[in-house]
Amino acid sequence: MKLLTHNMLMSHVKGVTKGYPLLIKATEVKVNEVEFNPQFVSRMIPKVEWSALVKAAEELGHRQDLPAELLADYEKNEEFLKKVHKVLLEVEVIEGCLQCPESGREFPITKGIPNMLLNEDEV
């Protein structure tokens, strides 16, 4: 699971109102090389919840000094874009789980694929 995806996910456990962001508990993390596309990264930056992204990167030990607040004028800052690229697309959680911050319910991640299905009694 990539952090770009994680940034868009929310807990859908019944009754939960503060289900974002999901906590990440990773037991296996990989960093894969993915071709750097500055236009795509620039496009994604305004879409992501920046503080949630930084928090997730921190949880995985890959924050690489990303600032707590978004830099102004980031489109031209290639070094910054490369760091964001790594965090959004190259860092992947292979095994672990996502946890709802309010209910504690865990969603397992196996072979890089999260299983978000709820059980019959949780729906």
């Binding site: 929310m10 596309n37 299905l117 729906v123």
Partner: protein, 538 residues
């Protein structure tokens, strides 16, 4: 400068393939919309013809369309046209010389092709046609192998293969600009793909869908019923980053029974990511997840540039959603023991589309498109059955016929308005006294009698027949059985209701005189018999 502005008033000729006829116009229009250009055909425009003449475009527009279109075979800068060769000559002699001369230069090389639609021409006749064009002021030299400029004489002999005229109805002459992307149909054929399923979308249609959705480079595309990822393969080819979900754990993980004839189980590298890797677009892979499309896991924001999907119709793959019900039989496939897969419940067809439209209204960017297949029962279909949403505008609706009674329609919608907070289309609750799937057991002694009743019926009465087998109108299940002794038997039972009356026909082929001893078990979904040697995949 005068030359430039004149050249921007050029006419272009598109030569289109004669398949998926209904899908061509929305594809070309969508690709033009990406360029901000309108579709402006000339006064002789006939949608079903393989030849379309367009105004108001420049060469770059045409190249951009041909770099994406799977419906268009080639594009030409149109220099002349007419009903006869003599009219063509007049037309060509009237064509401004300054438009021709950049391509007639004495140091350049050229060749002329002759293309005849709906007729085969002898080689000598082709040569005669080319020689007849000697009035054109070509100054360069002919080079058959490496021509810098290629020209084409195109003749239209109509669309009736049983009635080919001696002379063409229409002729065109133009300078070849580019070919379309029909090669993708072969290069991305599902036959050669690593990972396929029963419902993998064929390559041509998946690229057409990506075009209808105006997928662009650096877009984020989502498929909520992703299956084996065929639609993601097409979108990634056009430069989009792709993600998807599916409720089926095994398909997402690439496990379980193979869909290939001579293969029993899937291999270790059969999954969606591997498909993208096969075509060199793994870098566009975002994620896939096991998730239920009826229970959104996404935060409330405009996340996706396009949502492209082929929802289950209940024909080849059963429709399911998570939910509580005590008596639902558990699917027999017990491979996924290590990850609990909740009990499946019939997902009423209406709800799939209500949920899909609501989801799209909330999660598409403004101007983003939803493209999906809607199954229809042709004898009762009407346009009101296409689901609507106040925030989505219907752009196109193209039918692909599957049988005399069934078809599916490719629906394209574009988001034009943000939803008001709390706005959700209501699910149609009219028919659900409860959400239970009610299935009546057929005692084995009655099976042959019921089958015998089916044999002499035609398709339309089978639907009424089926409601007698089950209690109430709730059932939605699909079974695909094939008997080694007869033909493939496809039967579905559908909910007949309200705005989305979708009926599927039970296509029982006569001869279903199966002997009772060949019945090995009963399908858990439909409770119909499963025969020895049956290819049932439920």
């Amino acid at each position: 400068m005068a030359t430039l502005s004149k050249r921007s008033c050029l006419k272009f000729l598109l030569h289109l393939a004669q398949d998926n006829l209904d899908f061509r116009l929305p594809e070309i229009k969508a690709l033009l919309a990406v360029r901000g250009k309108p579709f402006h055909p000339d006064e002789n425009f006939k949608e079903k013809s393989p030849f379309w003449c367009l105004d108001g475009l420049c060469e770059d527009d045409v190249r951009a369309i041909m770099a994406r279109s799977v419906c268009a075979k080639s594009a030409f800068e149109l220099w002349g046209h007419g009903e006869t060769h003599s009219d063509l000559q007049t037309s060509l002699l009237n064509y401004p010389l300054e438009n021709m001369s950049p391509f007639m230069h004495k140091d350049s090389t050229y060749r002329i092709n002759v293309y005849t639609f709906n007729k085969t021409l002898e080689f000598t006749d082709r040569i005669k046609r080319i020689d007849a064009l000697e009035y054109l002021p070509f100054e360069g030299t002919v080079s058959l192998k490496r021509a810098q400029h290629i020209f084409c004489l195109l003749e239209d002999y109509g669309t009736d293969p049983n009635n080919i005229p001696d002379n063409p109805y229409y002729v065109y002459f133009g300078r070849w600009i580019a070919d379309g992307q029909r090669e993708l149909i072969r290069s991305h054929s599902v036959k050669n793909r690593h990972f396929i399923g029963n419902t993998s979308m064929d390559a041509g249609l998946s690229f057409i869908m990506a075009n209808h959705a105006k997928v662009k480079e650096n877009d984020v595309v989502f498929d909520p019923f992703v299956g084996t990822g065929s639609l993601l393969v097409a979108c990634s080819h056009f430069g989009a980053y792709v993600c998807g979900i599916d409720i089926d754990y095994n398909t997402i993980h690439g496990r379980g029974r193979s869909s290939r004839k001579n293969q029993k189980w899937r291999g270790p590298d059969e999954n969606i990511r591997a498909n993208l890797r096969q075509y060199g677009t793994e870098k566009m892979y975002l994620d896939v997840m096991v998730s239920d499309a009826s229970k959104s896991v996404w935060r409330n924001a405009a996340l996706f540039d396009a949502i492209i999907t082929d929802p289950p119709y209940g024909i080849r793959e059963s429709t399911r959603r998570t939910g509580s019900h005590k008596d639902i039989p558990r699917p027999p496939d017990a491979i996924y023991l290590e990850s609990h897969v909740p009990v499946s419940l019939a997902y009423h067809l209406n709800d799939i589309f209500t949920d899909l439209l609501n989801f799209s209204a909330h999660h598409l960017v403004m101007g983003g498109r939803l493209v999906y297949w809607l199954p229809v029962y042709r004898p009762e279909y009407s346009e009101e059955m296409v689901p609507l949403h106040p925030c989505l505008q219907l752009v196109s609706n193209c039918e692909q016929t599957l049988s005399s009674h069934t078809a599916r329609r490719l629906i394209t919608m574009e988001k034009i308005k943000e939803p008001q907070p709390g706005l959700q289309l209501q699910r149609d609750n009219d028919y659900t006294e409860s959400d239970d799937l009610i299935v009546e057991e057929i005692p084995s002694g009655q099976v042959n009698q019921i089958l015998a009743e089916f044999i002499s019926r035609d398709a339309s009465t089978l639907i009424h027949q089926s409601t007698r087998l089950y209690q109430g109108p709730h059932q939605l299940c699909a079974c695909y059985h094939s008997s080694p002794h007869t033909h493939t038997v496809l039967h579905t039972y559908s909910v007949k209701k309200q705005m989305l009356s979708v009926h599927f026909v039970t296509l029982f082929v006569p001869f279903i005189f199966e002997r009772t001893e060949n019945i090995t078990s009963y399908c858990e979904m439909s409770c119909l018999p499963v025969w020895r040697g049956c290819g049932c995949n439920v």
